[in-house]
Each structure stands twice: as structure tokens, then as C-alpha cells.
């Protein structure tokens, strides 16, 4: 029993979503996901400089993807809601954004860095793009292409 307890403490971080994992209905509901659709989920924050660089590209990409019935869902993890809303307004984001000030959604994904992009198709995680990347829009498109 003690061995199980010890193992649980030290491996809890390994229960984060990985490609191939199914997003739980509870998390799917918080994100507004439909089970038969493809989504690009982007975790960001106003204090994250790389997120600030990437978001204009993702905003532009979201308009293109919408025409292909692929939705971008942003998750803003700022603890201060006013700050979060001001940041989203400043960037003129038109895609759906979920505010996650207490980290209740992101803790299930548990990315090792920010920004973090996950592609979810039919409620299953298919790709992860973690960290600051050049040309994030091209990387997302390449990942989506692999899904076809």
C-alpha cells in the first residue's frame, strides 16, 4: 500500500493529456467541445511574451479554419479576470476564449510550458505543440494536414 502511495505522489504529473488520450466529458464541457469536431486549443496568458507574439497569427488562422469547420478555442489562464479580458480585447480576438483563472482546465492538460497548443479531434488529443515556435500557424496547419 505504501508503495502505491509513493508511486502516486511521484507520478501524478504523468496523468496529463498526451496524444491519443481522450478529453474527459467534464473538460470537454468547460471548453464547449462537440465530440464530432476538430478543435485547436491554445493556452495563453497576458504575461507570456511568446503568447503575445503568437496570438495575432492564431487569430488570423482561426478565420481560415472556421471555414473548414475547425474551431480555435483559446484558454486564458490569467488569474486576474479584468486583466484577461483587457488582454483579449487589446488583441482583438474573435475566436472563442475560455477564462481559466484557477487553472481548472489547464491542469488536465498539464503542459510543461507556455504557450501550449493542442489539437483535439473527436474528443481525442492528436497533437501537441508546446513552447514558443516560429510560424505557429504553419505548424498547426501541418499538424491538421496529418489528420486528414
Amino acid at each position: 500500500m505504501f508503495k502505491i502511495f509513493t508511486v502516486m505522489i511521484f507520478v501524478s504529473s504523468l496523468w496529463a493529456y498526451q496524444p491519443g488520450d481522450v478529453v474527459s466529458p467534464e473538460v470537454g464541457q468547460k471548453l464547449g467541445l462537440q465530440s464530432d469536431k476538430t478543435y485547436v486549443i491554445d493556452f495563453f496568458a497576458s504575461w507570456c511574451i511568446s503568447c503575445k507574439h503568437e496570438l495575432p497569427l492564431i487569430e488570423k488562422l482561426s478565420r481560415t479554419l472556421r471555414m473548414k469547420n475547425i474551431e480555435v478555442v483559446g484558454v486564458d489562464v490569467d488569474e486576474n479576470l479584468n486583466q484577461a479580458k483587457a488582454f483579449q480585447q487589446e488583441l482583438g480576438l474573435t475566436f472563442s476564449v475560455v477564462n481559466d483563472p484557477k487553472g481548472e482546465v489547464i491542469k488536465h492538460f498539464d503542459p510543461v510550458g507556455m504557450p501550449a497548443v493542442y489539437i483535439v479531434k473527436n474528443a481525442k488529443v492528436t497533437h501537441m505543440i508546446l513552447g514558443a515556435k516560429d510560424h505557429i500557424d504553419r505548424l498547426i496547419l501541418a499538424a491538421l494536414k496529418e489528420e486528414k
Binding site: F2, F5, T6, I9, F43, A45, S46, W47, C48, V77, D78, E79, G103, I106, K107, D110, P111, V112, G113, M114
Partner: protein
């Protein structure tokens, strides 16, 4: 032996709080107010220059900084 394991797990569990900060929890640490001179490098550089030219000690704030005719 079992008591030792309980103590070790509890102790290590306590230690695991130090530095166990998730990436999305670092917004506070990213604030400018958490840096000397609110992160204004020019002011920090000038400050170091004043201390370097008026006092006999140097070092401890990073290696880069340049020299001056302050000897």
C-alpha cells in the same frame, strides 16, 4: 521500516512544494515589480556604475557590464 516509509513520504511530500510550480502559475513571477528597478536595465546599469566608481567592491550582479576609468 513502515514508520520510516510514512515519515519519508510525508517529508518528501512537504519538500515537493518547493519549486513545484506549474508553468501557468508563473504570472506573478513574471511581473516587472519582481525585478530590481522594475526591470529597467539602464537604471540598474547606471546604479552599478555609481557604486563601482565610488566604492572599492565589484561583482555579484552578472559578469557583463564593461569598465570605466574609475580606478
Amino acid at each position: 521500516m513502515h514508520y520510516f516509509m510514512i515519515a519519508a513520504i510525508l517529508f518528501l511530500g512537504g519538500c515537493s512544494h518547493i519549486g513545484n510550480v506549474k508553468p501557468w502559475e508563473k504570472g506573478t513571477l513574471a511581473k516587472e515589480s519582481m525585478q530590481n528597478n522594475r526591470g529597467n536595465r539602464l537604471l540598474t546599469k547606471f546604479e552599478k556604475h555609481v557604486y563601482f566608481s565610488k566604492e572599492a567592491s565589484k561583482g555579484g550582479g552578472g559578469v557583463a557590464g564593461g569598465g570605466c576609468g574609475c580606478n
